[in-house]
Structure formats: structure tokens, C-alpha cells
Amino acid sequence: MWTPILIAAGGCYALKLAGLSVPRRLLDGPRARRVALLLPVALLAALIATQTFAGGFDARAAGLAAAVVAVLARAPFLVVVAAAAATTALLRLVS
């Protein structure tokens, strides 16, 4: 069991380090800079969608809706997170 653990852990670390080690000059052009700035936007947006809807349409969707409302109301970060968790938990409790 140790061999796959160490291979997978080493590989995951190498992926992280590789991203941080891309030579600066490759990222210096205006297009490359734009890509670098858009990547996290796309990744986080995709994560929000897949983590919320991976199990179909369930209580997490209501949690996300609560988070949207909290964000639009300019609530502090931790309030947004708590609103989503509480909404999801409550919905599960009553259903």
C-alpha cells in the first residue's frame, strides 16, 4: 500500500510545484497574463458548479442559493459560508 501512496503523493506535489515553477518569461505576454488571470476564475466557477450539482439537484443547491443572496447583500465572508451550510443542514433536517 505504501508504494501507490508515495507515487500519488509525489505526483500531486510535482503538479503543484510545476505550476509555480513555470518560467516568468512564458507568462509575461499580455495573452499569457490574461490566461493566468482567467484560469482561477474558470476553475473556481467549475468547482462551485460540480461540487454543488455532482449529486444531482439536492439541498446543496439551496445552500448555494443562500450564498448568492448573502453575497448580493454584501455579507462578510464567514456569514456567506455559514448561510449556505445552515440552509443545507436545515433542509436536510426537515426532509
Binding site: L27, L38, V41, L43, L64
Partner: protein
């Protein structure tokens, strides 16, 4: 306490709850306690770890391959953050969804660094302590879902992403990312939908 640090601690605690589940699940899947802890210390990327222990019973190749696919996005976070993070070998270990989300899009370089290091350190400590507890004690927190904690991460990412959506291009890219990830979700393996979304961002950014 600066609000970035407070938010980072909040993320650490919410993530830690999943560390309890991870430790318990890893032992249930046949790993020893040191093996469960080694995954959290060395791999330190939650989605990859859950996939690894879920698949290792069926064979090492699928477990390792899926862990790597899920871990690939961490490398992509490195591109915008590379200029800010030193020493690289240490920063790399803490480069995960949460630390990246708390770092990108900050007003200043020092806020970017604080967001990254505070979140990375908070999650690293909470995740590893919780993994050990979960592995030793079994499922202390039987179902984090009962507390709605599985909705916490998407909400956190939404709150951190929202200020970046005030311009047209990021908004369009975010919408395309959501659409493409959800479209391919039923057909591809774990980790692939967000990489498809990354490819969409690449295409949008390169288009002149």
C-alpha cells in the same frame, strides 16, 4: 485580527470537519493510521485523497491516476500566484483550492501572500490533526453533510469569486466554465470537468 486571517481560520475549521471523515474513511478502506496521516501530510489535496482511498480497493492504477487528475488543477493555480510565493517548495505543498481562492484577486501583493499562507497553514494544521483523530477514533463526526458542511466550500468559492465578476470577460469565462463543466460531468471521470473548464479559459484568454 485581520479579516483575511479570520476568514482563513474559518476555512480551516470547516475543512477540518472533512479531515475527520477522511481519516475514518481511509482506515475503513484498509489503510493503517500512519498511511492515512501520510496521505494528508504528503498529498494534502482533499479531493485527490478521498478519490484515492475510495478507489485503492479496486486497484492502484485507478487510484493513483484519479488522484493525479484531481490534483492537476493545483498546478494551474500556480500560474497566477508564482510571482508572489517563495520559497516555492514550501508554497507548492500548500497550493490547494482554498489557499488559491483566498489569494487570487487581492488588491495588493501582501494581501495575496497573507491570503495564501494564512489559509494554507490553517487548512494544513486542521486537516492533518483531524485526519489523525478520524483515523484513530473512527467517524467522530458521522456525517459532515448533516451540518451542511458540503455546501461550505462552494459558498466560500462563490464569495471569493464574486468580486472578480464585475467585468465582462471574467463573467463570460465563469459562465462558460460552469456550462462546460456541468455539460461533461456525466460523461467523464472525477477531476476532468474542471480541467475542461480550464481549457475553456485558455481558449478565451488566447483569443486575440
Amino acid at each position: 485580527m485581520p479579516s483575511i486571517v479570520r476568514d482563513a481560520l474559518g476555512i480551516g475549521v470547516a475543512t477540518g470537519a472533512y479531515g475527520l471523515s477522511f481519516g475514518a474513511l481511509a482506515v475503513a478502506a484498509g489503510l493503517t493510521v500512519p498511511q492515512a496521516c501520510a496521505l494528508s501530510l504528503l498529498m494534502f489535496t482533499g479531493a485527490s485523497q478521498f478519490a484515492f482511498v475510495g478507489l485503492i480497493g479496486g486497484g492502484a492504477v485507478a487510484a493513483v491516476g484519479t488522484a493525479l487528475l484531481l490534483g492537476a488543477r493545483n498546478g494551474l493555480y500556480g500560474l497566477p500566484l508564482a510571482p508572489y510565493l517563495r520559497p516555492r517548495p514550501v508554497a507548492a505543498q500548500l497550493l490547494i483550492d482554498e489557499s488559491a481562492a483566498m489569494a487570487v484577486g487581492r488588491e495588493t501583493a501582501s494581501e495575496t501572500r497573507l491570503g495564501f499562507w494564512a489559509t494554507g497553514a490553517a487548512v494544513f494544521v486542521c486537516w492533518n490533526v483531524a485526519t489523525l483523530l478520524g483515523a484513530l477514533a473512527g467517524d467522530l463526526l458521522e456525517d459532515p453533510g448533516a451540518l451542511g458542511l458540503d455546501a461550505a466550500a462552494p459558498a466560500a468559492f462563490l464569495a471569493l469569486l464574486a468580486p472578480r465578476l464585475d467585468m465582462r470577460e471574467p463573467r463570460v469565462v465563469a459562465a462558460l466554465a460552469v456550462g462546460s463543466a456541468l455539460f461533461v460531468l456525466p460523461f467523464v471521470g472525477p477531476g476532468v470537468p474542471v480541467l475542461v473548464a480550464a481549457a475553456v479559459a485558455l481558449a478565451c484568454g488566447l483569443r486575440s
